[in-house]
């Protein structure tokens, strides 16, 4: 994926030179290894700071809502699906956007890599499918396929669904992937076991809302957790308040979540909150055959009614 960057820079420079966009949103190198950060490039001279590697897991669709300028955005498969969701929800106009599609082979899981070593990881480089991790007194080569983020290893939409420019040839989609093995395991639990499972899952939560802030779906001007009149949910660290936050946030993402993994990636304590959103994603697929963000011309199942919609739960 390293080779993409020349093309990305070339496209970005051309778009800025021609004045077709006011800004390119991409990635630049972060101050820490495996932590690339969003970059907002406004002049052709700044294009050189753009980077592309396996640490670009942040979802750039998050930075598109309610902008006035013309924007070129670099989009992986998941980002492009979130852009489609924004289009459907009227958060941005298609003509304001130039989408630079990047066929993606997955992002690496920095948490898993950090956990592998006792000492601090100081440098992570990649060549092809080999990731080299360096730190004080150690150097190790790892296979990329083994250290992918969870959501990337089960991803079936690596190619952008919507794009104007393409930074590289489309990649082969993963086939025969069982996306929902983890969800089924939870579904099989008894109510008590489920309660315990989620209690353990969210027990480290400090309610910093990093998951919400990193999520492209969470663009409400005032989030329900910040509302004081009425106060929908307590603002304390009480386990019930934490749980209410997590599962209500997940419900707000129902039929919209693309499983981009931005929430999990942003979490400072490493909670897999995708356990909530993925169940809803699975239900949407099972009940309505719906995958979020595939086409801007189709309305999502939660704002349409079809006679065949499942309704057995209504007595």
């Amino acid at each position: 994926m390293l080779g993409y960057i020349d093309k990305i820079k070339e496209i970005s420079k051309r778009l800025l030179d021609e004045g077709r966009v006011d800004m390119v949103i991409g990635f630049r190198k972060g101050t820490m290894p495996m932590m690339n950060e969003p970059a907002f490039v406004k002049t052709p001279g700044e294009v050189s700071k753009l980077v592309w590697d396996s640490n670009c897991g942040i979802n750039l669709a998050n930075y598109l809502t309610d902008r006035k300028e013309k924007i070129a955005v670099i989009a992986k498969g998941c980002d492009s699906r979130n852009i489609v969701t924004h289009l459907i929800e009227n958060k941005i106009k298609r003509e304001k956007l130039v989408i630079i599609g990047v066929p993606c082979k997955g992002m690496i899981d920095r948490r898993r890599i950090t956990a592998m070593f006792d000492a601090e990881v100081r440098e992570v480089t990649e060549e092809g499918d080999v990731i080299t991790v360096k730190g004080a007194g150690f150097e190790k080569k790892l296979k990329k396929a083994e250290i992918l983020q969870d959501n990337c290893s089960t991803c079936i939409h690596r190619n952008p669904v919507l794009f104007d420019e393409l930074a590289a040839p489309l990649v082969e989609e993963q086939k025969g992937i069982d996306r929902y093995a983890d969800v089924r395991r939870i579904e099989e639990m008894s109510p008590q076991e489920k309660w315990k499972y989620f209690e353990d899952l969210i027990s480290p939560c400090i309610r910093c809302y990093a998951c919400r802030n990193a999520c492209p779906l969470c663009y409400c001007p005032t989030c329900f957790v910040d509302e004081a009149r009425p106060q929908w949910v307590g603002k304390s660290q009480d386990p019930i308040d934490i749980r209410t936050f997590h599962f209500l946030r997940a419900y707000h993402c129902a039929g919209r979540c693309t499983d981009c993994g931005a929430c999990e990636r942003a979490c400072p304590v490493g909670i897999n909150m995708r356990a909530f959103t993925k169940k809803l994603e699975k239900d949407c697929f099972d009940m309505f055959g719906w995958e979020a963000g595939i086409s801007p011309d189709e309305r999502p199942p939660l704002d349409t009614f079809k006679p065949g919609d499942p309704g057995e739960f209504i007595k």
Partner: protein, 49 residues
Amino acid sequence: MGVEPGRLNFSWISSAESTKFVDVVKDVTATVKALGPNNNFKKAADKVA
């Protein structure tokens, strides 16, 4: 989530269907009573902000 089946109910009742409303309410109350108190979603009094 760990909410027991039966504790959450959905029903579609017209304002003209008063008898259905009564039946559903009776039915739901009976189911929930059988399940007992829901202690899961209860905050301890001293912790409530």
